[in-house]
């Protein structure tokens, strides 16, 4: 029964479950707060023996936090976890593993300089008198490697493996030894169909053996293929829990999106510009290839146009942005054209000379200069030394901050440029000399955005422009993006939030496994359609 007011649908209760099944894991009232934001509000979850339980939700819904709590990677602020009726408190991953909770992590956790075999047994090496028995380890693992279809020699270093094989090794690591609960976080994101179906066979075997499986995936068809029950999280709360046979894809997507799903399909906030496309786009990428990560990607963007990149984690979205900006090596044959003229962008400094700006999704690590104040964070990267100024094209050069004849940055120009940005982007700070780390996430993001804007870039690449930004600041950043496009900058936005892409972009490219699978006009599509294409 779908409650239209709250968009909650809880249809199973304890007795609905598989008859007589034993409860393996029960989590009650789990809460977690990061800083001032509570990301999980009292979540309950139970996993039965022999059950595949799907956990779904949009990015930021709290899935990872929940999984990390169950596997001992983070501690809950309150609530408790019981494993086979015993209350447990895991304060590290090993404790969870020893108690029988095994996890296939989403991000690969392999040691690249160790062999397949060494990685699989890391921390659990079979020993006799303190000496590792590699022969025994090899025997133990042979069947699992075979079942997973890993052909490589167990002595091969994992850094020499493909991403898919690395993911399979990660799976092997989790399923060796004894466990009662298996948590799988996007286990198939790098696997092809054949590898996926092999994994599903293994999952069925565990089901039969009474293991409780928590399965997280963006691929809805997989979930409907393999799961018995589904729990949907939205904004840190359970909004749907039902038997798979009692629900369908549309309803699950609706619970994931919540009330906003009806708003989004309305016309509000759609880009107003009708993009009259010129014969030659101002910026074009043709047949971009990059190792095993990106295959034959072609995109183009016009002056004043905002285009989007959509795709699940691991689809190559982020890597594409990096490749365009010169942070990632591209294969020969890739063409990047500015106004129809081929350019080589193999280094970020070359890209910035052509007036291309990149806003990273990793603000803390790759964005802000934490030791510098606000003014310097905005202005400094726009100051170039003499030799670099000479190589910069004339339009971009005129926007650089003035440097006096003695090579000293003009403090006056620096301040006035900063003040201009602070006003137009509404950066909330008490003084231009404040340290940038004192600002909220949203204001830090505005600082980075200002850094790009000050140079009036020709092309701006924005990766997750509103990650970790609150709702009010989000709108301000959207407005700033619109305004920048209005000034004629060509903008590429990569985002995991589909509503954001629909709000900002005229066209959206959907990536899967490093390939463009669809190019859609955002006026002619909606979030559900995009999510389905992304999931494949």
């Amino acid at each position: 029964m779908l409650d239209m007011q709250t968009f909650k649908e809880i249809t199973t209760s304890d007795h609905d479950l598989v008859d007589g099944a034993q409860r393996r894991l029960r989590a009650t009232g789990l809460r977690k707060r990061f800083g001032v934001v509570e990301v999980l509000h009292s979540v309950d979850l139970d996993l039965m023996a022999g059950e595949v339980h799907a956990l779904l939700g949009e990015n930021g819904a709290g899935k990872s936090t929940l999984i990390n709590m169950l596997s001992g990677r983070i501690l809950p602020d309150s609530g408790q976890v019981e494993l086979d009726q015993q209350v447990v408190n895991f304060n590290n991953p090993l404790a969870a593993k020893r108690a029988g909770v095994s996890i296939i992590a989403q991000e690969l956790e392999l040691v690249p300089t160790l062999s397949i075999l060494e990685n699989i047994f890391l921390g659990a090496e079979p020993t006799k008198f303190g000496i590792i028995r590699w022969g025994e380890a090899r025997e133990k693992v042979a069947a699992v490697l075979n079942e997973l279809g890993i052909d490589a020699e167990p002595s091969r270093l994992t850094r020499t493996l493909s991403i898919a094989d690395q993911q399979l090794v990660e799976i092997a690591k989790a399923i060796i030894g004894d466990f009662r609960v298996l948590i799988m976080d996007e286990p198939t994101s790098a696997l092809n169909l054949e590898e996926t179906s092999r994994l599903f066979k293994i999952i069925s075997r565990f089901k039969a053996a009474g293991v409780a499986i928590l399965y997280v995936s963006h691929r809805l068809w997989e979930v409907f293929d393999i799961a018995d029950r589904v729990t949907v999280l939205r904004d840190g709360e359970v909004v749907q829990r039902s038997l798979i046979k009692d629900t369908n894809t549309a309803r699950v997507i609706q619970s994931m999106l919540g009330p906003k799903s009806s708003l989004i399909s309305g016309a509000t906030g759609r880009p107003k510009r009708s993009s009259v496309r010129s014969a030659v786009p101002v910026f074009e990428v043709r047949e971009l290839n990059s190792g095993r990560i990106l295959t034959n990607v072609s995109i183009s963007v016009d002056a004043g146009e905002v285009v989007g990149l959509a795709g699940v984690l691991g689809s190559g979205r982020t890597e594409l942005c990096e490749a365009i900006y010169g942070l990632r090596k591209v294969d020969p044959g890739t063409k990047i054209l500015i106004k129809g003229r081929a350019v080589e962008l193999d280094q970020p400094k070359k890209s910035s000379r052509h007036g291309i700006f990149f806003l990273t999704e990793d603000r803390k690590q790759e964005g802000i200069f934490p030791q510098l104040d606000l003014r310097e964070n905005v202005v400094l990267p726009n100051v170039l030394d003499r030799s670099d100024r000479a190589k910069t094209n004339s339009v971009a050069r005129s926007n650089l901050v003035k440097v006096t004849g003695f090579g000293v940055v003009s403090a006056q120009d620096e301040l006035s440029r900063f003040e201009e940005m602070r006003r137009s982007l509404n950066i909330k700070c008490s003084a231009s000399r404040n340290n940038v780390t004192q600002l909220s996430g949203g204001n830090q993001q505005k600082v980075l955005f200002a850094r790009g804007r000050i140079a009036k870039p020709f092309v701006m690449i924005l990766s997750e422009p509103t990650r970790g930004v609150d709702v009010g600041a989000k709108e301000e950043i959207y407005a700033a993006i619109d305004q920048l496009a209005g000034d004629g900058t060509a903008i590429i936005v990569s985002s995991s939030e589909i509503p954001e892409l629909l709000r900002l972009c005229t066209r959206i490219w959907i990536l899967r496994h490093g390939k463009v699978v669809s190019e859609v006009n955002s006026a002619e599509t909606d979030e559900e359609a995009i999510l389905e294409t992304m999931a494949g």
């Binding site: 590290n92 991953p93 090993l94 593993k97 992590a105 956790e109 392999l110 040691v111 690249p112 300089t113 160790l114 060494e118 990685n119 890391l122 921390g123 659990a124 090496e125 020993t127 303190g130 000496i131 590792i132 590699w134 850094r159 020499t160 991403i163 690591k173 990059s290 190792g291 095993r292 990560i293 990632r328 090596k329």
Partner: protein, 319 residues
């Protein structure tokens, strides 16, 4: 061809060793004399022992700059105790314990104060050197007792100096420890990808402590052996040994990026660099030039290490 040599670092060291022997013999036939060869074996054994400890440190992606000062300190206290007629076995036991204790102190600086190993061991280097100077007042302590030197340069069955046997035993134990025990594999895992190691339940402070205790103890062993070889000790005995052993480890094929350790390579490179040192001697190159030569070798080895890394990165864009 060049690439395959790069990959089999040990083979490269072996070839270089042969080339070095041929070149220096051509310059001065004395290079292959029994006395000179024995000298090379003793100093190479000491260098290999100290560098085997450093191999563990570098495999963990750390550095130990205090090994030279530990060698000097241990040599000085051993010599002082021997001159006071303390029995040799007690001298050796106390010296090795002291060296291991200094390694433990390094580990505590790193794990408790969370200092980078480079900084922590640079500081302890200075402290330990200062202690040695205070003990000796800057003077040289002569060892009159010959039992220690017999243990180092005495021949086994009249064949090779016993230092070689000590080095062989240390190599065997270290290789077993590194490749065949959970501790050794956890050292490599910590250096290769600390996050993955933590995820697998590796106790990184404990591993760090073990590694620096080993490095300290082996530096101490090297220090006692050096004192035995020279029949005297002063605080400068290990000066420059830290850079030398880093050079030996890198020439031996262990990357400064950590994650792997080539122990046989370290032993071979110890012999290679000791041969070069001795060769320069018999070729009458003034010892003033030694620093220049070994600095050059270290830079070359680091360049080769850098090239190997770029090779890998091109093959695997992701890691």
């Amino acid at each position: 061809m060049f690439r395959s040599v790069l990959k089999s670092e040990s083979l490269a060291s072996l070839i270089a060793l042969v080339v070095v022997a041929i070149v220096f013999t051509a310059i001065n036939g004395r290079f292959l004399s029994r006395l000179n060869i024995e000298g090379i074996i003793v100093s190479a054994s000491i260098s290999a022992i100290v560098s085997l400890g450093m191999t563990f440190v570098i495999a963990m992606r750390a550095l130990d700059l205090s090994v030279g000062s530990i060698m000097g300190f241990v040599a000085v206290i051993a010599a002082t105790m021997l001159s006071h007629d303390v029995s040799l076995s007690i001298v050796i036991a106390i010296s090795l314990l002291a060296a291991a204790g200094l390694g433990l102190a390094n580990a505590l600086l790193i794990t408790w104060l969370r200092l980078p190993s480079f900084v922590a061991t640079l500081a302890s280097f200075s402290v330990i050197l200062g202690l040695s100077l205070i003990i000796t007042h800057g003077a040289t302590v002569t060892i009159h007792n010959r039992t220690l030197s017999e243990l180092v340069i005495g021949r086994i069955y009249g064949l090779v100096p016993s230092a070689a046997l000590i080095a062989a035993v240390v190599f065997g134990v270290m290789a077993m420890l590194f490749f065949r025990t959970p501790f050794g594999r956890h050292v490599a895992a910590t250096g290769g990808e600390a996050r993955a190691a933590i995820g697998a339940g590796v106790n990184i402070p404990r591993i760090t402590t073990g590694v620096f205790v080993i490095s300290g103890a082996l530096a101490g062993l090297g220090g006692i052996m050096t004192a035995g070889m020279l029949q005297n000790a002063d605080s400068t005995i290990g000066s420059g040994a830290e850079l030398m052993s880093i050079a030996v480890v890198v020439v031996g094929g262990t990357s400064l990026m950590g994650g792997r350790g080539n122990l046989p390579g370290t032993v071979l490179a110890g012999f290679l660099l000791s041969s070069i040192k001795s060769g320069l001697n018999v070729a009458n190159v003034p010892s003033l030039y030694e620093g220049l030569v070994f600095g050059g070798i270290l830079i070359t080895a680091l360049m080769v290490d850098g090239m190997r890394r770029t090779e890998r990165r091109k093959g695997m864009l992701v890691v």
